[in-house]
Subunit: 154 residues, 3 copies
C-alpha cells in the first residue's frame, strides 16, 4: 500500500513527522505493538483550530482537526516503518480527547473525524476500539488530541 | 463460568451488546489482548444518569452507573467470545472518566463501582490496574465512561 | 541497576509503594507488559500539591509533582519485580493528566517532569510514547496523575 497516494486520494497530504513538543518519542514499539504519542492537529507548523467545542470551534472543524491528528500519527508510523506499510497489520485502539465546553456531548462526532478516516485508509484493518472524552484543556490550546495503538508484523 | 448467572446473582442483567454510537467497534483483538471501547451507562436504551458529579449526579449514582458501564463491556466481550468465557484470563486495565464539577475529588469512589463489580464477578482475575480521572464533558452528557483491557486465551 | 542509588543521585527517594486509594492493584502484568495504575504525587503520605494549574499550582510545582508520580510508579514496579531491575526492559507509554484551568496549555511542560525523570533514570529505555491532557478534576484534588506501561523480560 502506498499511504501517500491513498491519503492524497482522500484529500490529505502525508506531512513530515511532527516533532514531539517535549521529552518523549513519537512512536514506541513493544513486541508487535506500536504506541503513538498523542497527536495535535498541526498542519504546516500551525494548529488547525484552538479552543473548546463548540464555543470556539465547531464540531465539524474539530472533526477535521481530528483527521489531521490521525494523518500526523500516520506520518509518525511511516517514519518508524521506513515507509514499509506491508508490515502494518491493524489499528487497535484510538484515544480521542476533545477540548469541550462543560457538558458538551459532541465528542463522538468529533472523534468520527479520526475513526472514519482510518476506516477509509485501511478498511477493516482500520476499525478500532475507541475511547472519546471531553477535557477542559489541551497542549497548545489545541481543540483535539488523538493517540493510536497499532499492531504490526515483526 | 456462566456470566449471566453470575451477574444475576449480583443483581445485574447481561444486556444485548450496546452498539457503538459512532464509527468504531466494541471490541478489538490484538494477540491475546482485547481492547474494549469506552462504555457509557446505557440500560434499556437510556443513560442511567447524565451530568456532572456531584452537582447533577451523586457519587453513589455515578458508582452504579460505572457498574453498568462494566456490565455493558462484559456484554461486548460475551459477544466477541461467542459466550465462551473459558477463554477469559484476566482484566488488565480499567480507565474511568467521571464527568466532574471543577475540583471534585470523588473519582475513586465512582470508579469503585466498576472495580468492585469486576472483583465480585472474576475474583483475583478481575483485579486490575486503573486510571480514574475527572473530565468536564462526556458523550451524550453521560456521567461516566469506562474502558477495559482484558487478556484472553488464544 | 540499583534504582534506589540511581534515584538518590537525582535527588529522589524510592518510597514504600503507595497503597491504591480504592479497589484495584498497583501493577497488573499481562505477558511481558506491566500496567501501572494512575499514580498521584504522594510523598510521606501527603500530596505535594493540590488544585489546578496555573491558578493554584504553578507549572514548575506540577512538574515536580509529576516526577513524584513517576517515583511512586517506580516503587510499585520495584515491589512487583521484588527489586530485580535486570528484568526491566523499557518504558512504553506514559499517560499524564494535569488538573488545569480552562484553556491552560501547559500540560507538556508539566508532563516533562515525568518524562525527563524517566529519561535520566533509564536513558534510551526510559523514552516513551506519551499522551498529556488537561482535566478539571482529579482524585484527592491532586494536581497531576501519571500512569505508566512498561515492558519487562519474562
Amino acid at each position: 500500500m502506498d499511504i501517500q497516494v491513498k491519503l492524497q486520494a482522500l484529500g490529505w497530504t502525508l506531512p513530515e513527522p511532527v516533532k514531539p513538543v517535549a521529552a518523549y518519542v513519537p512512536v514506541k514499539q513493544a513486541g508487535d505493538m506500536l504506541y503513538i504519542s498523542g497527536q495535535l492537529p498541526m498542519r504546516g507548523g500551525k494548529l488547525l483550530a484552538t479552543g473548546a467545542v463548540p464555543s470556539a470551534v465547531s464540531v465539524e472543524q474539530a472533526g477535521e482537526a481530528a483527521g489531521q491528528c490521525v494523518v500526523n500519527a500516520l506520518a509518525a508510523i511511516h517514519a518508524h516503518l521506513n515507509g514499509d506499510w506491508s508490515r502494518f497489520m491493524q489499528v487497535v485502539r484510538v484515544g480521542v480527547f476533545v477540548q469541550s465546553d462543560n457538558g458538551c456531548a459532541g465528542q463522538p462526532q468529533v472523534a468520527n473525524g479520526a475513526s472514519e478516516l482510518l476506516a477509509k485508509v485501511f478498511g477493516e484493518a482500520g476499525r478500532h476500539a475507541r475511547a472519546a472524552v471531553g477535557v477542559n484543556a489541551l497542549p497548545l490550546n489545541a481543540c483535539v488530541e488523538v493517540e493510536l495503538t497499532v499492531q504490526i508484523r515483526v
